[in-house]
Symmetry: D2
Subunit: 338 residues, 4 copies
């Protein structure tokens, strides 16, 4: 068992980490770190548990620590649910202190020597860990993409055997993506907000890195163009997206590629039976009905039709955030990077 | 004043017709027709008024008639809010009986000699009325497009000066588009339904006809390709859409085209000050805040950015349905077709 | 293992029955009955599975039968999710054929010799089964109350030690209570409907029977007065209610009664650890966060304060419908009535 | 014309004030005051207009001032949309400076010499203005009640001819009552929050003062007991409440009292044709359909039935806040207190 901690354990993504890690077969959740205000108090007293699953009582008495390596001495790996502006420095500090950091924050994603990984898509990019180590660091940072990007690359992975270069994607993103207090009810009820700060840029750049090729010590971006249009909609969990890809093969060939798809890794505890599920119904995927497929880790694809067009959907705070980071940690562990 | 009637006056679009016509400067609403069950009873007794505006009391005592030309003798023009499967024959019967029909139904839209008109986009297509008359009919049928198509062509009209041929559009459509009982709350709450029957086909074909050219007695389709992906979202009124058009001009040139745009007609009572409004804010248009712009008749466009991408939004049961038909009737009247 | 069937297996409550029974330790779900249209086809082909939990694949191939005792020969007990107007006769037919019927329908609830039971509240009312048998019937009917009534009596049960006679209750009921298609989105979105047909009458009469006393062969109603005001609100699952009871004891005494409460039965598989949970937080219970407590079988109570006032909430299609019926069947089985 | 200003002009209630005053027949809106951050800038630049009605363009260039009497020299009356914690001192400062203050804030409502007025209910309480003046103040403060209290007292006013003393009220309150950012979407979507800070206390105390009797220089509280249970529900605008009153008269007598009701004042510009509307339909009032009755100033009552029970509903930011204050100012003006 590997001792792990969570940085930013009281927020929306932090609570998902706690939910996923409280009973994990490989990881032992020993430390929960949060803001100074909470430090020293039992987690059960400071967290306002907002998930629909029961609060994991055995974690309730764990004392919250400060977000510093010295306060988290017994951990080998930390999961970061920190806001980007804080994560930049804090995650460096942890990595410098010899700790493995699996981060959901955007701060380090696009750095050349930091792997940006979705295990079912580009597990080989973990090779960049060696580049970090060669640079003299004891620990390292591994990141997972933005929540929308994860759904997109997961849905594109089975299509890599086809030739394409032009991707358009219009997203309909859930309110939980902005955190518990991120979207006011008055702003989104009976409404759509056709703008999410930096989201389109993230989808357009992260996709190219993830689907790029690790050559020697660096990743060569995929030769794609991604054009995104991002919208917030009144849905609690689950990011839906309409995608166009310039694949010329017949629709049935593409559907078969989904049906036959086997991801390049297997056997990770948090990995779902299907990384991508192809919906047979003409009106699916739907976020409320499909987001918990594969315990929230499966991306559902449907309406594959001429154009080539399809709809992809996945749970944004599980598959798109905490679950993605946990899966990265499992891959790191399996590949003996710890 | 021209005497007018409404066919299907108790449904969602029918009530919008009543709302728009109860105090119209050119039209005198004398007849409300509905199913046999309601015929003979006062409108105020049979309608379950579901609009947020007050019920027009002066209409309350009007006796509902059957949906036949003989029951509606004093009218020169009828507005049809009938379901497509009924509209096909009924509208023909009215036109054969010498009555002008302004229809919101899809039944006749794609017939070669039936104008499919948005006054600010293709008023000259009314010329097809003469083709109908030359064929020996006393009355005629004029149609308006599907609600989503109207938003799209209204947003494209100011861009006709640029060269383009490839349009992608992902819609986020309001529940009122399916009528009062069309979408169950259990189906759409906290959810998205990524499928609306025949909607994509309508957008893809109607757009080409509307933006086509009237040559002699027929319309030559526009040389475009439209690829649509249609989704139902939990919004009451207002269809939002993310659009890509392959225009190469700089974003600022496109914005200027919107800002400078003057539609080819003016002076119709239901016509808004702006047929298209360009939003300055980075997070607009939003359906709840912008759908009532221009009394629900203005299409709002925003987020014009490289790609070329933008977002368009308009009120689906006013601009996209009843208001569109009334505007067509006003154009017909002004052009002396009655 | 007892062989059981479900009558009306494709609707909202029917699907909950299937979900709860597909892996039950005492019951073997062998037969699914639905309308003639579906009969003869595999359940997986005819059901439009609308629950957020995965479809139980092992049930998919079970052939749907007609709703008649002859078509369901191998079952000893059926669960009825039929609409009230059909349930009246059909349930009698099954009971006459020697089959035990656990019904969620309202048809037979108020009949003098039919037990209306919530196991944690009035298990002894099952004694009425003998009255049915004495009347010459081979099978019998046992009913559970209306969804709102269940929450109310569950919350009142721990208070029976106090004297009270005047109950006021204002409900805020979820849309799933009306079935999948029962409430149109246009009716309830951004809205409240302050009327649910027959709901207030059900709460006012059923409560008195359930909390009444079995004396000999009949139930003497409780000496209460219940005054209900029922409202539909835009919540998917979970009925919330504000309750006033004329208890004079101090608030702390009442809270202690909740904290110390032990229901009169225990050891049923579907029974939750707590039949009633007293929330400590000042802003709970909340339907989205608390409805799945005890796998949806626990009623949550909060805000106990002077007046005496409190708020109660429970999952209406689990605790308030299918789960209630399954719990009744478990009690029947344990009490050897089968 | 009387020159007026708004304190706190950019918030949810402040924007409603601007909407109601921008074209008022008696009041000339000359000054908009907001936080220091906004002072000196044109209103159109600092306000994020969130109402569904068009922004009043003629106000756009008005420069925002600081919230001090010296910065608002030309006004005779100010409307206060300030938060309670600020309003306490600021409103005193304005009143001391000789300015009439019509406040929507709770700070001064319960002070013995401050009128707490709903014009259709207790216009005579304005007599307390003289008490303030006798105490040496040049200006004065007049308050309107909390939004929920207004609906309750408006619905009770026509019933004063009957004897009653025990009122129970369960509210279902809209999210706009908490301001634009007051409720997070993640908190209220698919949910109910059964707690609103201090709301129950306000309803229970304010009602007694408003319905009390002005005797000499003070108000004697009404001999009622009000017991409130307050809940936030996912509705944008419109507070709904289930009410019990211990009136013994027959339901029809009570209905007649509503139908015949004439409020004690008339002729104020913002006053609706009906202060209370009795709904004939069994499923009304409904917030989305009825909140704009009387331009948002009419309280709708329905479901009057034995118990005595009824449902009341009104627009919380118009009738319940800004409109209430404007109506008070109109009464003050008509009664020559300025």
């Amino acid at each position: 068992m590997i001792n792990v901690g969570v940085l930013g354990a009281t927020g929306a993504v932090g609570q998902r980490f706690v939910e996923l890690l409280s009973d994990h077969p490989w990881f032992n959740l020993t430390t929960l770190a949060a803001s100074e205000r909470s430090a020293g108090k039992p987690y059960g007293k400071v967290v306002n548990w907002r998930l629909e699953t029961p609060f994991p009582e055995k974690i309730a008495k764990l004392k919250v620590t400060a977000i510093t390596p010295s306060a988290m001495k017994d951990v080998d790996l930390v999961f970061s649910a920190l806001p980007a502006e804080i994560a930049q420095d804090v995650e460096n500090t942890f990595a410098d202190a010899g700790i493995a950091v699996c981060s959901n924050a955007s701060s380090h994603r696009m750095e050349p020597n930091v792997p940006l990984v979705v295990p079912e898509v580009n597990p080989e990019h973990l090779g960049l860990i060696d580049v970090q180590r060669d640079a003299g660091r004891d620990g390292f940072i591994v990141t997972n993409p933005n929540c929308s990007t994860i759904m997109l690359v997961s849905a594109l992975a089975p299509l890599r055997k086809f030739k394409f270069s032009d991707i358009r994607v219009a997203t309909m993103q859930a309110i939980s993506g902005a955190g518990f207090a991120g979207v006011a009810a008055m702003s989104i009820y009976d409404n759509i907000i056709p703008y999410i700060g930096k989201e389109e840029e993230k989808m357009e750049t992260e996709t190219l890195k993830i689907m790029g090729t690790l050559k020697g010590k660096k990743v060569v971006n995929a030769p794609f163009q991604v054009s995104a249009s991002c919208h917030r909609v009144p849905v609690i969990d689950g990011h839906t997206m309409a995608v166009w890809v310039d694949i010329k093969e017949p629709v049935e060939t593409v559907k078969k590629a989904y049906a036959d798809y086997k991801p390049p890794i297997k056997g990770l505890p948090t990995q779902p039976a299907e990384s991508v599920h192809l919906c047979a119904e003409e009106d699916r995927p739907q976020p409320r009905l499909d987001r918990m497929r594969g315990h929230g880790m499966t991306v559902s694809v449907g309406r594959v039709r001429e154009g080539l067009r399809f709809v992809a959907m996945g749970h944004n705070t599980i598959r798109g955030a905490a679950g993605a980071s946990v899966l990265n940690a499992e891959l790191i562990s399996k590949k003996k990077y710890l």
